[in-house]
Amino acid sequence: MTDQSELRYTSEHEWVLVEGTVATIGITAYAAAQLGDIVYLDLPAAGTQIAGGSVVGEIESTKSVGELFAPVDGTVVEKNAAVEDAPELVNSDPLGAGWLLKVEFTELPELLSLAEYNALIGE
């Protein structure tokens, strides 16, 4: 389990772990709980150019279909094939094995701290 305070967050309920020039991206535990049982993920393939703020994928649960927004500009270097095969990983371990994308980013925008994100979701 990743230390939540090391992560940065977006208002779209995603977390970002920055290591050098690569950002690992996932959805927060709050988002996973709100979505309910996740059944399907549509993630961009490695090599896809993504633009911060645009919709790059879909997260489908039994209750709704959520959109995955790119938190950064950059190029996808890896998508998590394990969650495509077993979407329930996003529910069981959203901050760990349930990560979604690794992106080689060009520039890092302003992101939220844990405290700011918790304030956003009212916790």
Partner: protein, 985 residues
């Protein structure tokens, strides 16, 4: 003995029951209750003298009038084809499905545990379509062939990698399909390019710059050809190939899937569903692997229940319009379940060999006709065909068709020089000889007579003589190209290879019906669905040959009875809703919505207001509203609702200001989706009109208003109605539906028209005539006419007074339930006097928070008590919406109230810690017989409580066939075809 008025059969509560209910609600009369519930500003003073609705007829009188209307139709033998063919409905299917309330009074299978029968029937349908089209996954079902083609085009745009906005359409597609594609494409910015498609191999083909192509296979002309090369070109450009295929032909020719198609669409009408002057029939769509999540409409899949047994359910619900709103794959909700069940059962009854034999017979009939006509010197245009011939008759096509019609035969005029003839499974040797006589291709001497009927009989006699005399055409050349002869198997699953005897078929249909909970078992209190009585006398006319046996493009002189019935129903509906004109063309509420919004669009554009494209939709609206607005080329802007669930007037003013120049319309549901009569509705409509917008009133909740207020009077410009809610067309387990669109006079010219309409003119309420000249919204000019006698009979037998009584009784029943249950469950929204409209929302959120018992638990526990659950989590998550309708009697309503009160006691026991949160009668519901008999009983409550929580159930228990179904498992492991029998062992 005097017949009781029909209204007293339709309305479940009598005067004594109503006075008891009024006491509980706190009013002294129904009139007083309605005066308090319906805002005074919108109450309409109904004056019977002015109404176009005649005084109520008895059941016997109404059926006699329908007989008289039916007698004004003339059933000619149709060879018109174009997706509609005469067919033989197996009597075992007609009696046990079409005429059986266990099938036709069920609702959409949202509660899968009590819907396993029709879910199995639908998965048979999906398997049949997927097998025949050679594609991975089929849905269940589309509204008709032409709208399925539109959905195919929209799917292609979503799934295509091409950035082109061009869609190629086969010049040999059915004309009504081309018209629909053109009209629907225009609204969403797709460019249609129609062209003659042929085997081509050069890369400069226009298909190389398109996001998709639509190919008719076989073509409207009857031509059978191999489209694989065109499909390949489209694929190379990243596009999607949609093939409109005839399922019966596919028993003999290579499937679209094997030719590379991504999507197949079409109709299943000729699988035992009568033509009915256009419908209802089930359209179909199937897709290759990888496109499942792009499928519009409803998809049945296999999951597992709590005991690990396989169980059916609707899959990928999260993608439907009620959740995804403007981002949905489609606006379709109601499908054509009853008709899909019939078509699927036709395949179950005949099996693969039977279908092959039927298809071969049809093809043999076409070939023998071709040989006879060729021998008489006629040129047959295409050498490769399945069931449809084009015959060259230079300059004589119209004359010949008129002559044929005088003989009771309908031939298709393709142009002045060409006749089309489509044969079907009812075309026997006698019919072929009649055709030969019409073409003067037999040698028997004519029999002179002037009377048309006698002429037709005389010609049969002549045909018989000719038959004896005519040269035997023994060797008929094949007409299917050798390289397109189907070699792959289909319908190999045991279900299609078991029920060959009628006894076996009857028992299979009975077994599936017994799995399900329909109105013939008890109340279905689904909020916003209006599950009222579908009276037997209303259903009488549906299967009469004079209504069922007519082709949708039959000449006007054949359909006088239909046109009169349609004209009357249009005007009655306009009259009771305060509008001027009605179109019955839309096949579901979603299509009525779209037609209404397209009328608004057409109106604005006709005035040069091309930039009016913003559609305001309250946040409480049904998701379909937003999905329809997008398909009408509009931009959705959401208006906030206040804490009472009403439109927030300040936000509405702000949004109107912000979008004043671009405002096209506001869509509002009345009474609101929260089941409340909004008091500000008149002001809301005024604000929109003032800004130049049009008001669309969603008529889904009309059952709370009929006879007391009219949409048109308080500001509506256009509305759709749901005949399958307010006007008694049965839900059929999820369709058919009819969603007429009603409009004020200024919008009437923009209501859906149709190139084959027998009469484009429609009588307005004031007696003047208007032409509905908008684009078509359905494949057939009058949508699904064969079920219109149901609504006609309902209005005819109720009269205006009866309709108002029904409304008041429905509102009383809802308020009675709200009053009885309020001490146990908070009622979420009420109007000014603390009253609800025709439904009430029970708020479980606090109860769930305190006990852990969810809406799901309560819904499934109701099954143990012998009820269908109310609507879950719509319009508010964590709530149940209850709509009893006027048809339930007090005993049944009280039985429901008692069940809910006992369930609340069970919830209290969980909250008090008597039962663990994860092991109690609610969490484990529903309980099957197997679950209480098998193995050791290890739960903290006894078996009697599990399955007989009320003693009354001991003799009349409905047993669910499966336990609670795992929703996530089914969506993660998508299987949408019949599972192997071993799965059930």
């Amino acid at each position: 003995m005097t017949q009781l008025p029909f209204s007293s059969r339709h309305i479940g509560t009598d005067a004594a029951a109503q006075s008891h209910m009024l006491e509980a609600v706190g009013y002294s009369s129904v009139a007083e209750l309605m005066a308090a519930a319906v805002p005074r500003a919108i109450q309409f003073d109904r004056s019977l003298a002015d109404s176009l609705v005649p005084p109520a007829a008895t059941e016997r009188e109404a059926v006699a009038e329908l007989r008289a209307l039916a007698a004004q139709n003339r059933v000619s033998t149709s060879y018109l084809g174009l997706g509609y063919y005469d067919t033989i409905t197996p009597a075992v299917i007609k009696r046990n499905v079409l005429e059986n309330p266990s099938w036709y009074t069920a609702y959409t299978p949202y509660q899968p545990e009590i819907s396993q029968g029709r879910l199995e029937a639908l998965i048979n349908f999906q398997t049949m379509v997927a097998d025949l089209t050679g594609l991975a996954t089929a849905n269940a079902s589309m509204l008709d062939e032409s709208t399925a083609a539109v959905e195919g085009m929209l799917l292609a745009r979503r799934a295509s990698k091409s950035t082109s906005r061009r869609f190629i359409v086969d010049a040999d597609a059915f004309p009504q399909t081309k018209a629909l594609l053109r009209s629907r494409a225009e609204a969403v910015g797709i460019e249609i390019v129609e062209m003659v498609l042929d085997a081509v191999d050069h890369p400069a083909h226009p298909a190389a710059d398109a996001f998709g192509v639509f190919i008719q296979y076989p073509g409207a002309s009857g031509r059978v050809w191999n489209p694989a090369d065109v499909i390949e070109i489209v694929h190379q450009a990243g596009g999607i190939a949609v093939v409109g295929a005839d399922l019966l032909a596919l028993a003999l020719i290579t499937s679209p899937g094997e030719l590379g198609a991504d999507v197949a669409i079409g109709t299943t009408q000729r699988f035992g569903v009568p033509m009915g002057f256009g419908g209802p029939h089930a359209g179909y769509m199937s897709v290759r692997a990888g496109l499942e999540r792009q499928l519009p409409g409803r998809l049945v899949g296999v999951s597992v229940d709590a005991a690990g047994h396989p169980a059916y359910r609707l899959s990928l619900q999260a993608r439907e319009q009620h959740i995804r709103r403007e981002k949905a794959t489609s606006n379709i909700c109601t499908a054509q379940v009853l008709l899909a069940v019939m078509a699927g059962m036709y395949a179950v009854y005949h099996g693969p060999d039977g279908l092959r034999a039927i298809a071969s017979e049809v093809n043999r009939a076409a070939r023998s006709l071709a040989a006879r006509l060729a021998a008489a010197g006629y040129e047959i245009v295409h050498g490769d065909y399945f069931d449809t011939l084009q015959v060259r008759v230079p300059g004589r096509a119209r004359g010949l068709a008129e002559h044929a019609h005088s003989q009771g035969i309908l031939l298709r005029v393709d142009d002045d020089d060409t006749i089309g003839i489509a044969v079907d499974e009812t075309t026997g040797d006698a019919e072929l000889l009649q055709l030969a006589i019409v073409f003067d291709a037999v040698t028997a001497p004519p029999i002179a007579t002037t009377d048309a009927r006698a002429a037709s009989e005389a010609n049969l006699e002549r045909a018989r003589r000719a038959s004896a005399a005519a040269e035997e055409i023994t060797e008929v050349a094949p007409s299917l190209p050798e390289h397109l002869v189907r070699t792959s198997d289909f319908l190999t699953h045991p279900v299609f290879n078991t029920h060959r005897s009628e006894t076996s078929m009857m028992r299979y249909l009975k077994r599936l019906a017994d799995y399900d909970y329909a109105l013939d078992r008890g109340m279905i209190p689904l909020g916003s669905c209006t599950m009222k009585l579908n009276a037997a006398s209303e259903m009488e006319a549906v299967t009469w040959r004079e209504f069922a046996g007519i082709h949708p493009f039959a000449p006007k002189s054949d359909v006088g009875g239909y046109l009169e019935l349609i004209g009357q129903l249009e005007r009655w509906l306009a009259d009771v809703t305060g509008y001027d004109s009605v179109s019955l063309q839309p096949n579901a509420g979603s299509q009525g919505e779209l037609a209404g919004l397209l009328a608004i669009r057409g109106y604005h554009r006709s005035r040069g207001d091309v930039d009016r494209t913003v559609c305001l939709i309250p946040s409480s609206a049904h998701g379909t509203n937003a999905a329809s607005a997008v398909l009408a080329g509009m931009k959705v802007v959401v208006v906030a609702c206040d804490e009472l669930g009403n439109v927030d007037l300040d936000d509405l003013r702000a949004k109107i200001d912000q979008h004043a120049a671009g405002l096209a319309a506001l869509m509002i549901t009345y009474p609101s989706t929260h089941g409340v009569y909004e008091h500000e509705v008149t002001e809301i409509c005024r604000l929109v009109h003032e800004a130049g917008g049009q008001v669309y009133v969603d008529g889904a909740n009309l059952n709370a208003l009929l006879g007391f207020a009219r949409f048109g009077d308080f500001g509506g410009d256009v509305s759709h109605l749901n005949l399958h809610k307010t006007f008694c067309i049965p839900h059929g387990g999820g369709g058919p539906g009819v969603g007429p669109v009603a409009a004020k006079a200024h919008l009437a010219p923009f209501l859906p028209g149709h190139m084959f309409a027998q009469d484009a003119g429609h009588l307005l309420i004031d007696g003047s005539r208007v032409e509905h000249a908008g684009g078509p919204i359905s494949a057939a000019p009058y949508g699904s006419p064969s079920i219109l006698p149901i609504s006609w009979a309902y209005v005819r037998m109720m009269g205006l007074e009866g309709l108002a009584d029904a409304t008041a009784s429905a509102v009383l029943a809802a308020n009675y339930i709200a009053a009885r249950l309020a001490p146990h469950f908070p009622v979420l929204y009420t109007g000014e006097n603390g009253l609800v409209a025709h439904e009430c929302i029970l708020d479980l959120r606090a109860i769930t928070a305190a006990s852990g018992v969810s809406v799901d638990d309560v819904a499934k526990r109701l099954v143990d008590y012998g009820f269908h659950a109310p609507t879950m989590s719509f319009p508010v998550p964590g709530t149940l919406m209850v709509e009893p309708t006027e048809s339930e009697d007090l005993a049944e309503i009280d039985r429901f109230v008692e069940a809910m009160i006992r369930i609340k006691q069970e919830i209290d026991s969980v909250a008090a810690g008597e039962w663990p949160a994860d092991d109690n009668p609610l969490r484990n519901a529903p309980h099957t017989a197997q679950s209480v008999i098998e193995g050791e009983w290890a739960h903290p409550y006894d078996r009697e409580r599990a399955v007989y929580p009320v003693h009354l159930l001991v003799r009349g228990k409905y047993w669910p066939p499966v336990r609670r179904i795992d929703q996530a498992y089914g969506d993660r492991n998508l299987v949408c075809a019949c599972p192997p029998p071993e799965a059930f062992e």
